[in-house]
């Protein structure tokens, strides 16, 4: 045996998940490690596959909304919105202005709730136990608001094809204003507690860096892409609903590392709050539901609609054969597409940082596996 062979090292396979607390669901990564460095990573998905797209083909348009609630189960209203917009585009319906404002207020509040959950769980991934309590406290306030408007805390079934289910309660505007102030204080608190914390910076700065060409070729969207320095936001680039009437900034990062991806979401929280306030100022009385037949029956055709979810660019490809059930519903889930960027991000990282990198992508397995 030569000396070279004697000291030759062998890469080791390390299985992480599916029942691992840091994978935020049932997600399995097979890491190939060389000592402490990750050489390669293979994601395994499908543990939460429920066949939502196929199920949707056997349900009427109104019932499909309940399936979309369950895709990305921390930003339900954003999902409902995207499906309803697709069906409306197909049917040529334009929801009344008040309905659109209500939708945008709820969608932005849901984005806030989702980002607050991310901030909390990300801190837990990195070993900080406190921020999740504050994140959840604020999220709880938002969910109480949802409960008073839609009747449910998570699976709302509130945004309907042609508008929203019913008008908001009379005390909605003052309540949301108070809520926005409270949540802003809460976000600032978490921000102060975590963002420039030395320990947190050491765990996230310069970790999982992804450059713009790689990010674009991986199909990364949402805060992950913006952290790399591309100001791509569907709300700005392909405006929908009442977003063109609102003024807001698209936060853009510089380095494309974990900290930037985290910080983009914190900044987006402030932007969402400002958007909610603008909507409340601009909202006028009026109908919330468009005039249409009770049973949605879009004409034959197909349509692709996309929008900005908290996790990125969600798209729905909807094919109708003229009946009351969709012929095909294809979802482009942002979490699933963002997972493609996992491999370039993780190469040459330490095993200890694998959790930080996966956490910074903020995947939701309900959406990845559908």
């Amino acid at each position: 045996m030569t000396t070279e062979q004697a000291y030759d090292t062998v890469d080791m396979m390390l299985n992480m998940g599916p029942q691992h607390p840091a994978t935020h669901g049932v997600f399995r990564m097979v890491l190939t490690v060389d000592g402490e460095r990750v050489v390669d990573v293979t994601p395994h998905i499908g543990y939460l596959h429920r066949g939502s797209e196929k199920l949707a083909e056997n349900e009427s348009y109104g019932q499909v909304i309940t399936l979309f609630d369950r895709l990305d189960y921390v930003s339900n209203l954003n999902n409902e919105l995207i499906f309803c917009r697709a069906a409306e585009r197909l049917m040529g319906i334009d929801p009344p202005e008040r309905g659109q404002y209500i939708r945008v207020v709820l969608a932005e509040l849901n984005r806030l709730a989702s980002h607050l959950l991310f901030i909390g769980t990300y801190a837990i991934d990195l070993g900080a136990m406190t921020p999740i309590m504050y994140g959840f406290r604020e999220r709880e306030r938002i969910q109480n608001m949802f409960e008073s408007v839609t009747g449910a805390r998570m699976m709302h079934n509130f945004i309907r094809i042609g508008g929203v289910k019913e008008d908001v309660p009379p005390d909605f505007v003052p309540r949301v204003r108070a809520l926005a102030d409270d949540v802003e204080r809460g976000v600032e608190e978490v921000d102060r507690l975590l963002t420039f914390n030395e320990v947190f910076l050491a765990r996230t700065r310069g970790i999982g860096v992804i450059d713009v060409p790689t990010a674009l070729s991986c199909g990364l969207t949402g805060p992950g892409l913006r952290a790399s320095g591309v100001a791509y936001d569907v709300r700005k680039d392909y405006p929908y609903e009442v977003y063109p009437y609102l003024s807001y900034k698209v936060p853009v990062g510089e380095n494309g590392d974990c900290w930037d991806r985290y910080y983009m979401r914190v900044l987006e929280c402030y932007e969402s709050l400002s958007m909610v306030r603008q909507c409340l100022d601009q909202m006028e009385e009026g109908p919330v539901m468009a005039q249409m037949r009770r049973i949605a029956r879009p004409p034959k055709g197909e349509v692709y609609v996309h929008g900005e979810n908290p996790r990125g660019d969600i798209g729905v490809f909807l094919v109708s054969d003229g009946t009351d059930k969709p012929y095909r519903v294809k979802v482009r889930p942002p979490s699933f597409c963002n997972l493609v960027a996992l491999r370039p991000m993780m190469r040459d990282a330490y095993i200890a940082d694998a959790v930080a990198i996966l956490g910074s992508l903020d995947i939701v397995l309900g959406e990845v596996d559908r």
Binding site: T66, A128, Y134, P169, V199
Partner: protein
């Protein structure tokens, strides 16, 4: 080292604040007015029977097929104390399958089903998730007590009002027919 201490200090400063969580089994947070719990059936007290006529719309529209219903001819329709020709005989909701979407309430034209405030219905028996007509009506009664619910369309659905309306219409018709025939029998059916 100094950085670590600084980080710890930030954490320590938050240590002295008030707790922000409610401890669930001891402390129940109130539900909001629009809260959608499990669906419940409502009772028409004016005729002492449920509003539900067993039209099966909710059964068909349910995304999870969690309901089943059976109707029969309403004996009270025959003796004139109710305006419902058919009445529900059996109604069962599998609460394990129900996803609390509220579609059944949206499609119901008889004000018969409503999302109640019930959400703590866990039971030890496997069959405990099956809510039959008696339980559903009980839940409905509790919901009415708590929320002060009123039927949305009483003229069509509340037996007393609907019967009175029908009687008035019949009386008006009889009166106009009577005018034509110069009859002298006034109707007394006013409630």
């Amino acid at each position: 080292m100094i950085g670590t201490l600084k980080g710890m200090l930030t954490t320590a400063r938050w240590l002295l604040k008030r707790p922000v969580t409610a401890h669930y089994p001891e402390q129940h947070l109130p539900v909001q007015e629009r809260y959608m719990g499990f669906p419940a059936l409502l009772m028409d007290d004016t005729a002492d029977e449920p509003f539900c006529t067993g039209c099966m719309v909710c059964v068909r529209e349910c995304p999870t097929q969690c309901m089943s219903a059976q109707m029969h001819d309403n004996p009270k329709f025959a003796d004139g104390t109710s305006h419902r020709r058919k009445i529900i005989n059996e109604f069962e909701i599998n609460l394990n399958r129900c996803i609390l979407c509220g579609i059944c309430v949206d499609v119901c034209a008889f004000d018969a089903i409503e999302m109640s405030y019930e959400h703590e219905l866990a039971s030890y028996a496997r069959t405990g998730s099956r809510a039959d007509l008696t339980l559903l009506l009980d839940l409905g009664r509790r919901y009415v007590d708590m929320s002060g619910w009123n039927p949305e369309n009483p003229e069509k659905n509340v037996a007393e009002v609907a019967l009175a309306k029908r009687a008035a219409a019949a009386a008006a018709k009889a009166a106009s027919a009577g005018d034509a025939a110069a009859a002298d029998e006034p109707s007394e059916e006013e409630e």
